[in-house]
């Protein structure tokens, strides 16, 4: 099992959610995050006082999937979240040791 964590532009969340739904992903977790990469931040100006805002708001999407699904998930996210401009985000893939569904106590792939 893998945990896929994708950092995306906030306005692309609906597209990503739809693309993941289309390939049969049954659950995702969404977190509002801030950060910077190559896009860097932006500047704000108030009566001549200039502030550099280093961290931009992004959305982090987490999906736990079977190994067989990983490539399709990556493909779906990449396709849906891409604008071609700097700041589209990144996808991280982690090994996932265990999954437990709290209600039933199921574990492993059954719990996904």
């Amino acid at each position: 099992m893998k945990l896929v964590a994708a950092i995306i532009k906030p306005f692309k969340l609906d597209d990503v959610r739809e693309a993941l739904g289309d390939i049969g992903v049954s659950g995702i977790t969404v977190i509002e995050v801030k950060g910077f990469g190559r896009q860097k931040g932006h500047t704000e100006l108030y009566r001549g006082a200039e502030y550099v805002v280093d961290f931009l708001p992004k959305i982090k999407v987490e999906i736990a999937v079977d190994d067989a699904m990983v490539d399709k998930v990556i493909e779906a996210i990449s396709g849906a979240a891409r604008t071609g401009k700097i700041g589209d985000g990144k996808i991280f893939v982690f090994d996932l040791n265990q999954v437990i569904r709290i209600r039933t106590g199921e574990t492993g792939s059954d719990a996904l």
Binding site: Y46, R47, A49, V53
Partner: protein
């Protein structure tokens, strides 16, 4: 049994005579109440109070950080209450009665505790109570303007004491000098609605407060952006609307001068708002909301002294110049000199106030569309010189007394909150409340 003794008779006769004398003296033109003037002045008075609460309070509240939003709203509200009482007890009397031998500098205590300000008492063609309340709203907004300079770091108790002393020792005398029969008005200075009394006065006190309190912790390296510019724009809009009461109301009558005051106020403000917007657009590539709102306030300030004398085209010139110089002072000079006039009270009210006061002397000239120079003043140069003297007197007297008062409070109870309180935010530290519980 009641019989008139000769002595008592004489006393009675004197009493009757003394009652008749003022009436006889004014027999040509008995003062009568004009319901038109009174109706307008009731409205104007409400508009000017509306400028402070909620107008100015919101304008400032949006500019501070969210942890201090309540503190500035509270300061404006508390000042409104405090000054109202001071004005009733002795403020109105000292500012607007004849001070006899001292009349050049201060009035008397004849109307202390509003003695004589009765239902029937008149001031010109409006009730004395109305004139008193109208002037009260000016006395309220002036100290409230100063709040912007020491926002986010002053002790509430020190603020109250400073404001009580400042209104007593600075505002009241200067209001008397200019409007109450004192030397500045007698000299022929033109200040229709309070360029010197209100704006330069508040501006220089604000600068002194910013210097005496010192910078906010972290200024200018830490980002301190306004927490809610929507509040600020709403507040600036309320100021714009309320200012018609301020300027057109200063005519104290519903007549052509009041209508022209309204017209020139609108024109100056429009010109000033766009001036700041374009200046920023040209310099930084984008027009800003805070810029256009600040420019509007600068235009309102600049036209204030001129609103009874300038013509429409003169008003546009005054708005343009006031805004441009306020822009320069607030965005450049402040940065170069490094003082933390947090919400630009000096930069906007002080600087645009000075520009307006000087240009009042220029655009009052009939040849430039104005209503005329002060009686006995020879030419634009002479009027501008008188304007400069009134500006300098306000700057020197207001600045020095403000500095002395601030110093006195600093060495007694202290001016600033502790560093810990400042970091926590004044809302929680001083009021045990939060502006946003979400």
């Amino acid at each position: 049994m009641y019989s008139l003794q000769p002595r008592r008779l004489a006393t009675h006769a004197l009493a009757v005579l003394s009652l008749l004398l003022p009436a006889l003296a004014l027999a040509d033109e008995p003062p009568t109440l004009s319901s038109g003037d009174t109706a307008w002045m009731l409205t104007a008075t409400a508009l000017v109070l509306f400028m402070t609460i909620p107008g100015l309070a919101l304008f400032y509240a949006g500019l501070v950080r969210s942890k201090n939003v309540l503190s500035v709203l509270m300061q404006c509200f508390a000042i409104t209450g405090l000054i109202t009482l001071i004005w009733a007890v002795y403020g109105y009397s000292l500012a607007f009665t004849d001070g006899g031998a001292m009349n050049d500098y201060i009035g008397s205590l004849d109307k202390a505790f509003l003695s004589g300000v009765t239902v029937d008492a008149l001031s010109g063609t409006i009730p004395d109570s109305l004139f008193m309340t109208f002037q009260m709203t000016f006395a309220i907004i002036t100290p409230a303007l100063i709040v912007g300079a020491f926002a986010e770091r002053m002790k509430f108790s020190a603020m109250l004491i400073f404001m009580a002393l400042w209104v007593t020792l600075v505002y009241i005398p200067i209001a008397h000098w200019v409007w109450g029969g004192g030397w500045v008005g007698a000299m022929g200075a033109l200040d229709f609605a309070g360029g010197t009394v209100v704006h330069i006065n508040a501006g220089v006190a604000a600068l002194m407060a910013a210097l005496m309190l010192g910078r906010r912790k972290g200024y200018p390296t830490t980002a301190m952006p306004p927490h809610n510019l929507s509040f600020t724009v709403i507040g600036a809009s309320m100021l714009w609307v309320g200012w018609f009461g301020f300027n057109a109301g200063s005519e104290l009558a519903a007549d052509g001068t009041a209508a022209m005051a309204m017209t020139v106020t609108q024109l100056s403000t429009a010109a000033a708002a766009l001036t700041w917007m374009f200046a920023e657009w040209i310099e930084h590539g984008k027009p800003s909301v805070l810029g256009i709102a600040t420019g509007a306030v600068a235009g309102l300030v600049a036209i204030t002294p001129a609103s009874g004398t300038a013509g429409p085209m003169g008003a546009i010139a005054i708005g343009f110049a006031g805004s441009l110089l306020a822009y320069f002072a607030s965005t450049k000079v402040k940065k170069w000199l490094g003082y933390d006039d947090s919400l630009d009270v000096w930069g906007v009210h002080g600087v645009a106030g000075i520009v307006g006061a000087i240009l009042t002397g220029v655009f009052a000239a009939p040849v430039l569309g104005g209503a005329g120079l002060a009686d006995g003043v020879d030419g634009i140069g002479g009027q501008v010189w008188i304007q400069l003297v009134s500006v300098a007197a306000t700057l020197v007297y207001g600045g020095l007394v403000s500095l002395a008062l601030l110093f006195l409070i600093k060495v007694t109870i202290g001016l600033r909150v502790t560093e810990e309180q400042e970091t926590e935010g004044l809302d929680l530290a001083l009021h045990d409340e939060r502006g946003y519980i979400i």
